[in-house]
């Protein structure tokens, strides 16, 4: 019998205004029952000052509420300032780190950490190489199929495996900021225009097909991942934690619905209806986990 899977909240990927970001995490501290909450700024280092100004208050509130907090770190680290920030985050023993760029390994010096979804994990040898260097939990990359995950976990069963089951999927990172580019601004003088799109900015094809979303230097799926019917199979193959990625809308309600599903208090169909009602603007997808194009929604059950 597999242990009950954990429910986690991934880091907010969008440039929410400082107070909105703070109030969101205050509410998560006060009202949520996540087993783990990841907090940090994985996307853009220019947003860091707005995070750092309120982070101590959030951490204090989380600690008071007895929450397990993991600090999520930058996914693309290039500048001196970014390296220094990352080093500071890694070189401490108070909070566990989610490494989203392998640069973190240089600073963690073997400390126990989580490997985030931005680091390439496609085989058991990578898991072993990273486990040797302190990783104990792995968040699977977005494009991995359940079939691959099953093989990987079978070959390297010891660590905990986590998978995003709700929210837009991170697909790519660039040196270029697309929000700035779409607003005819340079990255250096971007005026933080990414704060205009609290769930990312939609990108459609020329004939109106809804396709992608941009979030600063990050490209995301237009569709929002939603894995519900798949959960029993995913638990069976060894996924130990399910991650929700924050969006505007009531994340507490989404978490409650998924918790109820995991506890088998409601069916997947009921859960889907509740989530569709809560997030009416989301177009739900699940192609990657079925080994198909990520943008697809596959109705068949998960074959592993």
């Amino acid at each position: 019998m597999k242990p009950n899977p954990q429910l986690t909240l991934g880091p907010c990927l969008f440039n929410w205004p400082e107070t909105m970001w703070r109030d969101f995490y205050f509410r998560m501290a006060d009202e949520s029952d996540f087993d783990r909450i990841y907090i940090g700024e994985p996307v853009c280092s220019k947003r860091l000052p707005f995070r750092n100004s309120v982070l101590p208050d959030i951490l204090e509130r989380m600690a008071a509420a007895g929450k397990t907090v993991i600090l999520s770190t930058l996914a693309l680290v290039t500048t001196k300032a970014e390296r220094k920030t990352l080093q500071g985050q890694c070189d401490q023993d108070d909070w566990m780190i989610e490494a989203n760029d392998l640069t973190a390994l240089a600073f963690l010096k073997g400390r126990n950490h989580v490997i985030g979804p931005y680091i390439n994990l496609y085989n058991e040898d990578s898991i072993e190489a990273l486990s040797k260097r302190g990783a104990s939990r792995f968040v699977l990359p977005a494009e991995l199929s359940a079939t691959t995950a099953a093989k990987l976990i079978k070959a390297a069963p010891d660590p905990t495996y986590e998978l995003q089951i709700f929210g837009r999927l991170p697909l790519a990172l660039s040196a270029r900021c697309y929000h700035a580019r779409l607003n005819h601004l340079s990255k250096d003088s971007c005026r933080f225009v990414c704060d205009q799109d609290l769930d990312g900015r939609d990108i459609n094809s020329l004939i109106g097909q809804q396709f992608l979303a941009v979030n600063g230097i990050q490209t995301m799926s237009y569709g929002s991942q939603l894995l519900l019917e798949e959960l029993p199979s995913l638990i069976e193959l060894g996924i130990g934690a399910f991650r929700l990625s924050p969006h505007t809308g009531d994340m507490i309600s989404i978490a409650k619905t998924i918790r109820a599903l995991l506890e088998q208090e409601i069916s997947a169909i009921e859960a889907r209806k509740a989530i569709e009602k809560e997030m009416p603007n989301h177009h739900f997808i699940n192609g990657f986990i079925h080994g198909q194009a990520g943008m697809k929604h596959v109705a068949q059950s998960l074959a592993v």
């Binding site: 290039t78 500048t79 240089a106 390439n120 085989n123 990578s126 190489a129 691959t148 459609n204 020329l206």
Partner: protein
């Protein structure tokens, strides 16, 4: 021992690293003046796993012999991420490179780097661009942990940043100067699999030809990838290959090339700056390219690199202009304004 030369013109000439998709292309590149040729095995271990391309072990060995006659070196790219439950194919390929006499293996997967460093301590390792090592700390980590001797830098850095990296690291750097241009951090992009189910990391392909379609309309031609429109061209206008990130899209009423124009990289202009930045090797992209194209590109860059040592000025941009995709090229991230 003689004194170290101090003048800038005494900089070590940069190594010209050229692609070869076939044994014939390898010989062409050697003959055209490449210092080093990179190629891959005919299987899923390399990121240009296209039909009709790549090398068997025997072909590799013949290629190494041919190159050796002209003092050229061979690198073997094992630069995809090994598939779960099938990593033996990648390990066997690494073993083959170690025994072949090739100069080095180019690896991206941390599991395979770990294997190579443990199993073949004498095998020279280069870090593939697919590993996206974009700063000195990460590069030094790879050098320290796995003995990596050279890092192919991702196309997210400016020339100034490259110079700063070189000042802080103990190993060599190689940079792309010509050919296709990834807009995203390499090896960290799932756009292709999001649209088609196949990606560079999992399948060695991006925006694969099997998923491409073109449809004629009365007034325009439309290119699509897995049914998603990537671009539309008015009648008579040349259509570019629908690489996903170089398509035209719409966002909040604005239409245009959201990610990147259909351009290719040409950093010919920047060769002196790259040399000053301490770059060891210059890499040309395009293992899928034909012999005639490659002969021209390699010969042109050979002249340019030699001219750099002698101080001659060569109008390289005009020399190479007809060879760039759609006649348009960019200096990419090497210039900060690109961002």
């Amino acid at each position: 021992m003689t004194d170290q030369p101090l003048k800038s013109e005494a900089l070590t000439p940069m190594e010209l690293v050229c692609p070869a998709g076939t044994p014939a292309a390898l010989r062409t590149a050697v003959d055209a003046g490449a210092d080093t040729i990179y190629c891959g095995f005919r299987n899923e271990t390399n990121a240009r796993n296209f039909p009709g391309l790549n090398f068997s072990l025997k072909e590799l060995q013949r290629g190494i012999d041919y190159a050796a006659q002209k003092r050229a070196k061979i690198l073997v790219a094992i630069n995809t991420f090994a598939q779960a439950g099938k990593t033996d194919l990648w390990k066997r390929s690494i073993d083959d490179v170690a025994q072949s006499g090739a100069h080095a293996a180019i690896l991206a997967d941390i599991g395979m780097l770990d294997y190579a460093a443990r199993t073949h301590p004498d095998l020279r390792l280069h870090l593939s661009v697919q590993a996206a090592a974009a700063n000195a700390d990460m590069i030094n980590y790879y050098a320290h942990e796995f003995g990596v001797k050279r890092v192919v830098l991702p196309r997210v850095l400016t020339v100034q940043e490259i110079a700063a990296i070189n000042a802080e690291i103990a190993c060599e750097t190689e940079v792309f100067i010509f050919g296709g241009l990834c807009v995203m951090a390499e090896g960290r992009c799932a756009l292709s699999s999001y649209c088609t189910g196949k990606s560079p990391n999992m399948n060695g392909v991006c925006s694969p030809p099997g998923d491409v379609s073109y449809e004629e309309y009365p007034d325009h031609l439309e290119s699509s990838l897995s049914g998603i429109t990537i671009n539309q061209y008015p009648k008579g206008e040349a259509a570019a290959y629908p690489t996903l990130c170089k398509g035209r899209f719409e966002s909040a009423g604005t239409t245009g090339y959201v990610f990147e124009d259909p351009v290719s990289l040409n950093a010919a202009h920047l060769l002196p700056a790259l040399q000053k930045a301490g770059v060891t090797a210059l890499k040309i992209e395009g293992r899928q390219r034909g012999k005639a194209y490659m002969a021209q590109v390699v010969a042109s860059f050979r002249r340019a690199v030699d001219a750099l040592s002698t101080g001659d000025n060569i109008p390289l941009e005009t020399l190479l202009a007809p060879l760039t995709e759609g006649q348009k090229s960019t200096k990419g991230s090497y210039q900060k304004t690109w961002r």
